[in-house]
């Protein structure tokens, strides 16, 4: 996309970033967030997108924490290597 090329040609430091570039990137973010994906693409303010982005990332971090915890407990209790083989098989054969 042309905006990408023009940015790389600018000198580092005080680079002039156009509003269009930012609007473009913000709308791309909006499409990634489950909360906002279904709303109209031009109805959500940038501020809301940023807020939801932060919330979404925080939720994902929390899920990683939770899943790590559960894995830790499962590892402690499960013994079989066959469980592992099944996991590897199912995940990598997708």
């Amino acid at each position: 996309m042309s905006s990408r090329r023009s940015r790389s040609r600018q000198s580092s430091g005080v680079s002039r970033i156009s509003d269009d570039q930012i609007i473009d990137l913000v709308s791309k973010l909006q499409q990634l967030i489950p909360e906002l994906r279904n709303r109209g693409s031009d109805k959500v303010s940038a501020s809301k997108v940023l807020q939801e982005t932060c919330n979404y990332i925080r939720n994902l971090h929390r899920e990683v924490d939770d899943l790590s915890d559960r894995l830790s407990q499962l590892l402690a209790s499960t013994d079989s290597d066959s469980a592992q083989a099944a996991i590897i098989r199912s995940l990598l054969m997708d």
Binding site: R4, I57, H61, Q73, L75, I87, L92
Partner: protein, 152 residues
């Protein structure tokens, strides 16, 4: 624009690395159930393995993965003594500059959440955020399916 979602290669790479890390954590079961402290320690190791496996699977292509890998490497090597001394001073300089230009608080919040975000310009930050978010979602999906398999 290319998609930010991790392709199947990256996902597979992550799953493989993560599973290998998990298998390394298994030890022969000592007498009785593991203590709470052991479980805590293992949880932290698992979490670290998850983030660093994903960062390695993405490689040095993105600023966030580079920043994460650097953080993990420093954590392992310097044990928090010398860690980030250079980065901390650079961070402070950048944060001061950003505050002076009156950026929104939400942007600063985002900077704290995305690895390496503190020293990026706004465009870089938004791009890296998109990629980081997509990778995180994949990481969660894979971890969830591992948990499901183990729970069977």
């Amino acid at each position: 624009m290319t998609s930010v979602h991790p392709n199947s290669t990256t996902t597979t790479r992550f799953a493989r690395r993560f599973l290998i890390s998990l298998s390394r954590m298994r030890r022969p079961i000592t007498l009785g159930p593991p203590s709470d402290e052991e479980v805590c320690r293992r949880t932290r190791r698992i979490k670290l393995a998850a983030y660093s496996s994903m960062a390695r699977a993405v490689g040095s292509r993105r600023a966030w993965s580079r920043a994460l890998l650097l953080k993990v490497r420093n954590r392992v090597r310097f044990q928090g003594i010398l860690r980030n001394r250079f980065l901390a001073s650079k961070k402070k300089r950048v944060i001061k500059r950003n505050k002076a230009s009156g950026e929104m608080n939400k942007t600063d919040m985002l900077r704290k959440l995305v690895p390496g975000g503190e020293t990026m310009d706004i465009c870089g930050l938004l791009e890296e955020t998109a990629h980081y978010m997509a990778s995180l979602a994949t990481q969660v999906k894979v971890m969830q399916s591992i948990v499901d398999q183990y729970s069977k």
